[in-house]
Every structure is written in structure tokens, then in C-alpha cells.
Amino acid sequence: MKKILLGLLLGLPVLGYSQSFQVNLQGQKQTAMAGAGTGVALDEAAVFFNPGAVSFLKKNGVQAGISPLYLKTAFRENGSNITEYNKDKLATPVMGYAVFGNPEGRLRFGLGIYTPFGGAMHWNEDWTGKYTVTSLDLQAIYIQPTISLKITDNIGIGGGLVYSMGKVDLRRAVPLTLNNGQSGTAKLEGDTHDFGWNAGIYVKTVSGVSIGVTHRSQVTARVKDGDAKFDVPEALIAGFPTKFTAELPLPATSSIGFGFYPSEKTTIALDANWVHWNKYKELAFVYNNNQRVENTRSPRNYHDAAALRLGIQNQTTERLALRAGVGYAFTPVSEGYVTPEVPDANRVLLSAGIGYKASEHFNVDFSFLYENVKARNETNIETGLSGEFKTVAYIPGISLSYKW
């Protein structure tokens, strides 16, 4: 089962994004509740949302899900009358979790495979921002073995080691004209293998409110010996690099979440996330040949950013649960630093979903998330690209779970 899941995950081209290149689609129940889930013990996805809550899950189980992500960005250069759109590309972030151990005991184990960072932005090869980027495919899949301990009947702690497998493929046009009149192109491709961790504490208070606090560490994705493929005029190619190194911080996230239970059938989850984006100061590429291209240090200067998420679940019938949520994510991107590979801005999240208990063991959950990213008009300090971006994303999702 693990092998199949892993194979499935690695074989798929992943992603879209949810706050800059952070992806928040780690569980269908939680996604249907605007991504809240730190302070509640909903299901196996607690491995991601709060390892401390894993020991409070009433059953063991496995689940696998997918959230096909359709994201559309419009761009219009200032002064122009032409609106350009990114290409249609359905990204498919997947997630899988397993929780086992004795549900009556204090110690539980979990395994999570999920994609907390990624991006799949593809512009036309000759769009007006081609010299900044034509496409970016970025994915970091985290594999997280987890241990969770119920210290008392009301307090659980948990933690997991994160092994991150990353992939990056960045393409852009090079401002040198080939003999056929076309621009040159550059393609930078590399893999990363890095470590991090995820830890959380879960408390059921006497008032009935549950509280979760978690911290997912930063993972610094390092590309060593990545392939730099330059398609440039023959007369110049000898001066171009073939290899590069780069580093991308996948920032830490600290969260606090609350669970409220106004009735036996209703759960309200409220989350606040603090994403430590300030570590993303620059995107630097170091090349193995600097005769024709300098090493680049593109300033990003992100700042920390918060997200607020409120979700509700109602167990309408014994078999059917309805969910809805609303959220707001603040952009980490300061004015003058918006780039077309991640045209980020503050965004509103609206979500809904249903869960259906098909049998004693089988559950199916659907979610639908709508993200409306605010329009943003500015001039990039580094590239001079000046114009307005507007993005919307539509993300349906489904997961199947088996519990015992």
C-alpha cells in the first residue's frame, strides 16, 4: 500500500499554490473547511495538521486523496490593451495518510505523504514576460513518519520526521536573438532531498474546546548540480553554463487551532497560521560558467504572512456530513516583488464539501475550494515588468478512506 501510494505520488506532475508557493490541500475534510484542522482530531490527515491529535483518533485508517487544481491568472502589461493568460494546466496534488496502533492505547503511529509546496505556472513561450519566466514547475513532496503520544486523557503530543523530495523546472527566454529571429531559451532543472520535522500538541480543555498548536519546520531545498540547458546562438554557447546550484527555503509554519463543539453533531474549527516567509530573501542561481551569464541573485524579500481559516462540519445524518469554510490568506510578497511565476496577493478562500459514510469501513469525502486572489498592479523592481495580475483558482477534491 505504501509503495503504491508513493509510486502514485512520484509519478504525477504536481501542483498549484495557495499562499505564494505554499500549498494547503492536505486533507479533503480540512480543505472543505477552508484548510482549518489544527485544533481538531478529524481524521488521518491529523498526521499533517497536528501530530499531537493523532493519538486521539478513534479508529485506525488509511486514506488517499487528490485535489485537481485549476488556476487561471490574467496579466495585462501597463499601457497595453492585451490581456494574457497562463496556459490551462490541471495540477494534481495528492495526499495519503495512514494511522495505526492500538486506538485504546496511548501510543499511535502515522505516516503521511503530502505536498506542502509547489507551483505549476505555464505562460505562453512568447508572452510579454518571457524573459522573466515562461514556466515553473516546482514540487516538494514530504514523507512524514509520525509518532503520537497521549500523555493524559486530555493532552496529546506528536512529532514526525520529514523527508522532502523536491523537483524544480524553471524556464525562461534569454534576451539573445538566434539566427532565425527567435529568442534563446534557458531551462534549469534539478532535484532536492532534504529533511525537516513536524510537531504538535493537542489539548482537550475542560470547557470542551480543543486546542492545537503545531510547528512545521523550514526545509531548505538545495539543488546541487542541477542541469542548466541554454538554447542560445552557437557562436556564444561555449560561454554558457551547463550546471547550477540553487537554494529555496520552504518556510516554517506555526499554527494554532481551536475546535468548538456547539452540539454533538457540529464541529467548528478555527485556525491561524503564521508562515515564516521572511527567510525567502532571494532566489540565487550559481552557475558553473560565468563567461556569458553572471550568477543571479533575484531579490524576493518576502515577509512573514498569516492565514486565517474557519470551517464548520455538520454530521447531518448518520451517513452524511456537510462542511463549509471561509478563509483569508495574507500575501508574503511586498510591493515591487510580485513575479509572474507566483503572482501572489491577498486572497479569499471559500470552501464546501460533503462526507459520505458508504459502509462501516469506507468513507468518501468531497471538497471544493475557491480562491480569489486580489488583483495587483505593480512594477517589479528587478525585471521592470509592469502590469496587473489577477488570479482565481478552482480546486475540487476527493478522498477515499478505510477505517478499522
Binding site: A74, E77, N81, I82, G129, A352, A375, G384
Partner: protein, 431 residues
């Protein structure tokens, strides 16, 4: 059953939402403002004609900045725009140059392209263009010559636009461009009134700067005549004029310098520390970094040749035609400033839109400037801005000019002509 229904409903909503989910930006209302672009004419010299790579040829004409502007004007009521294109089978026009390779030391090897010339006779004379005309750009024309009746017998680029043949042409350029009514004009003249002096190293008696007073008088005359729109009513046409760029910032004068020349010489003769030049006044002296050398000097391969090595000894100095010495450079700067002062004051006095091309091109000197992620600079060959002749622009360079004209027109007349996408245009073609 109920859940089944809810599930189906959610799916249906999702599908409909995704199908209609393209984000929309606020729409732009096209407006011509207070101007009328129904017949736009472009008056000017080589820069207006699309001249590049040391020649006028079809691809250059197709990437002229007036054609770019006219194409964009169509969104706000602009009419057809006709360029005196060379025919496809004569697409090399006057002939031009291309970059063939680099030498072992990295110097560009520039070779002529003359496969499909549009030459119809000795002189050379070029194949005549007949038909509608909006781009009146004539390479080589000086403001000082726009009222010279014999000019059509002297400049083959002008001659090809006229019905007559030498020596029978008597139409002045100014009369020619205003012969048919028009509603809008661009005028970018004045560059050649100082350029010829500069590119001949101040050494050509035929290419002395146009006197400042003559320049002012003719600029006023041209502006007032153009504003009549080909008729007799002042204010019938609106327009845009432009300052002239300081040629001393172009690669024609900034690529070959005393340090680069000395470096080449010293590779073979390490003891040489000075180059000798003949100044405009006939003095022979050692060159300084304040003297300018012409781009064409390096490809002429003359330095160090001869019994007394050319340029390396005071007995055989570099001729004045290769050098714009410090004093000559001061003359160029002085005339450029004076001409530009005139252009600005005429624009202001007549409420014409003004492009400061001089200021614009200066932004790209040194390490240059990022344009939509592309580095654009006035570096020779690699800078994307200047074509292989080091004075005229690449299609990308012309597109930057077109956008500056468009912004200036929009600013003055409240129109909404859209800018062009600079990244769609090429720089120097590499082998």
C-alpha cells in the same frame, strides 16, 4: 438518495464555475482623445524609415517605429499606414550587414548582405516606390535640407519616392510630405545635422554642422507647415516631435576606445603606451581617453601597419577621419544641446507632444536597464538596443522608441493608444 442529490449538485456547480472562471481585468475604453489619427504621416530620417544594420532593407522597414505606432493607432481610429517597402525579391534594399562570427579574441565579424538589392542604376539609384505613402522617412536627410529643391537629385532614398528622375527633381522634402492632407504627424529630424560631422570624425567639409540659427528657423517652419495638415489652416493637424540622441553615447563612439585599442596593440607590442592622432585642427598629439574613436576604425585594421607603424608613432598618426577629438566632441555636444533646446521650445510653443529620445537612450548607457526581464543596454552587439552599425536601432530598440512616442501622444492628447510588446521584437541576430 438525498446525499446522492447533494453530491450531484455540488459537482454541477463546480463544473459550471470552472468553465466560466477566467479572471477579468478592468476593461479599457479606447479613446483618441483630442487628436485625430485618421491619416498619420511620419516625417524624419533613417530612424523613421527603419534603417538598421548599416542599410535600409525590408525587415528594418517592417519594424520601423512609425509603423508600430500606426498599427496601435488603429484601436483608436487610426487609418491605413503605407510604408515604401522594398519588394520581397529585393528585400535587401540598399544592402546591409550581418554578424557572421566572432574572431578568436571575441571581436565581431561583420559581413555585407547584398543578395537581393533594390538597385536600379548607378549611383546607386534604388527601385522606385509608387503608391500611397505614410512613412516619409528618408535616410540621410538633414533638417537643413528640407527646403532644398535639388535634394531629390542627391539622395537616392528620397529619389525613389519621387516620380521624377535626376536631374529633373525639384520638389522639396517639406513640400513633398505636405502635398496630401493628413491629421497627425511625427517629426524626428535634426539627427543628421550633427551626425555626419561626428561620424566623419569632423573631417568632412561637406558634413559640417547645420548652423544653429538655420536649424531654429527651419524647425519652426517645418512645425508650422506640418500643423496645417497639408492645407492652409493652422492647427489642422496635431503631432509629436522628438529630441535627437547624443550620438556620443552610441556604440559607434563608445565601443572602440583608447584602452581597447592599446590592449590590442600591447598584445603584440607590450612597450607601446600611446596612440597618436591627428586632431581636427591638424595637430598631432597622443590620444587621451577624452577623444572618441569611430567603431569602423577597428574593422579597418590599419593600426600598426606600414613601415612607420600607423598610429603608434607621431610620424604616422591616426588620421582625423577616425577620431572625434576632445574639441570636436565638444562641438557635437554643443550642437546637440542647442538643437534639442530648439526642439523643446518649438514643441512647447506649438503645444506639440514631445519625446525626449535623448534622455530615453541615455537610460540605457553603461550596464543598461531591465526591460521586462531582458537586459537592454547600449553595448555593441550584445546590448539588444543598437543594430550592427552602432547608430541605428534594432527592432527591439525601435519598439522602445515607439512606446515612448505612444506614451507622449497619449499624455498630450488624452488618447489611449496601446503600447507595443517590446519582447516581441528582436535584438542583434547571432550566428
Amino acid at each position: 438518495m438525498k446525499s446522492h442529490y447533494i453530491f450531484k449538485s455540488i459537482l454541477a456547480v463546480a463544473v459550471i464555475a470552472m468553465a466560466s472562471c477566467k479572471p477579468e481585468l478592468k476593461s479599457i475604453t479606447p479613446s483618441k482623445g483630442t487628436a485625430d489619427f485618421s491619416r498619420y504621416i511620419a516625417v524624419g530620417n533613417s530612424l523613421t524609415s527603419g534603417y538598421a544594420d548599416n542599410g535600409l532593407y525590408l525587415e528594418g522597414q517592417q519594424n520601423s517605429f512609425p509603423l508600430m505606432i500606426a498599427t496601435q493607432m488603429k484601436t483608436v481610429g487610426g487609418g491605413e499606414f503605407y510604408t515604401p517597402f522594398f519588394r520581397e525579391d529585393q528585400s535587401d534594399g540598399s544592402g546591409h550587414v550581418r554578424l557572421a562570427s566572432f574572431t578568436a579574441t571575441g571581436l565581431p565579424v561583420i559581413v555585407p548582405v547584398a543578395d537581393k538589392l533594390a538597385v536600379r542604376g548607378p549611383g546607386p539609384l534604388y527601385t522606385k516606390y509608387t503608391g500611397e505613402l505614410n512613412n516619409y522617412g528618408v535616410p540621410g536627410i538633414k533638417l537643413g535640407l528640407i527646403t532644398f529643391a535639388q535634394y531629390g537629385n542627391l539622395n537616392p532614398f528620397y529619389e525613389r519616392l519621387l516620380p521624377g528622375v535626376p536631374p529633373n527633381n525639384t520638389t522639396t522634402y517639406l513640400d513633398f510630405v505636405t502635398a496630401k492632407p493628413f491629421t497627425f504627424f511625427s517629426m524626428w529630424l535634426g539627427n543628421n545635422d550633427i551626425l555626419g560631422y561626428a561620424t566623419t570624425g569632423g573631417a568632412s567639409p561637406a558634413d559640417q554642422p547645420t548652423p544653429k540659427a538655420t536649424f531654429t528657423a527651419l524647425y519652426n517652419l517645418a512645425a508650422s507647415k506640418l500643423m496645417m495638415g497639408g492645407g492652409t489652416t493652422a492647427g489642422a493637424a496635431k503631432g509629436v516631435v522628438s529630441t535627437i540622441p547624443d550620438v556620443l553615447t552610441t556604440p559607434f563612439f563608445t565601443t572602440v576606445t583608447l584602452p581597447t585599442l592599446l590592449k590590442t596593440v600591447q598584445a603584440a607590442a607590450p612597450t607601446i603606451t600611446a596612440l597618436w592622432i591627428t586632431t581636427g585642427t591638424g595637430t598631432v598629439r597622443a590620444a587621451t581617453t577624452q577623444d572618441y574613436f569611430l567603431l569602423t576604425l577597428s574593422s579597418a585594421n590599419v593600426i600598426g601597419t606600414g613601415a612607420i607603424p600607423y598610429g603608434l608613432a607621431p610620424q604616422n598618426p591616426i588620421e582625423s577621419k577616425w577620431v572625434l577629438d576632445k574639441d570636436e566632441a565638444a562641438v557635437v555636444a554643443d550642437y546637440t544641446n542647442a538643437y534639442n533646446a530648439t526642439i523643446k521650445s518649438v514643441a512647447a510653443a506649438n503645444s506639440l507632444a514631445l519625446v525626449d529620445a535623448n534622455a530615453l537612450l541615455k537610460e540605457y548607457t553603461g550596464t543598461g536597464k531591465m526591460v521586462n526581464g531582458a537586459t537592454v543596454s547600449s553595448a555593441y552587439v550584445t546590448g539588444n538596443l543598437f543594430s550592427l552599425d552602432g547608430i541605428h536601432l534594432t527592432p527591439m530598440g525601435y519598439s522602445l522608441i515607439a512606446n515612448e512616442f505612444i506614451r507622449s501622444i497619449n499624455g498630450k492628447y488624452g488618447s489611449s493608444i496601446p503600447t507595443v510588446d517590446v519582447t516581441k521584437y528582436r535584438g542583434v541576430k547571432f550566428p
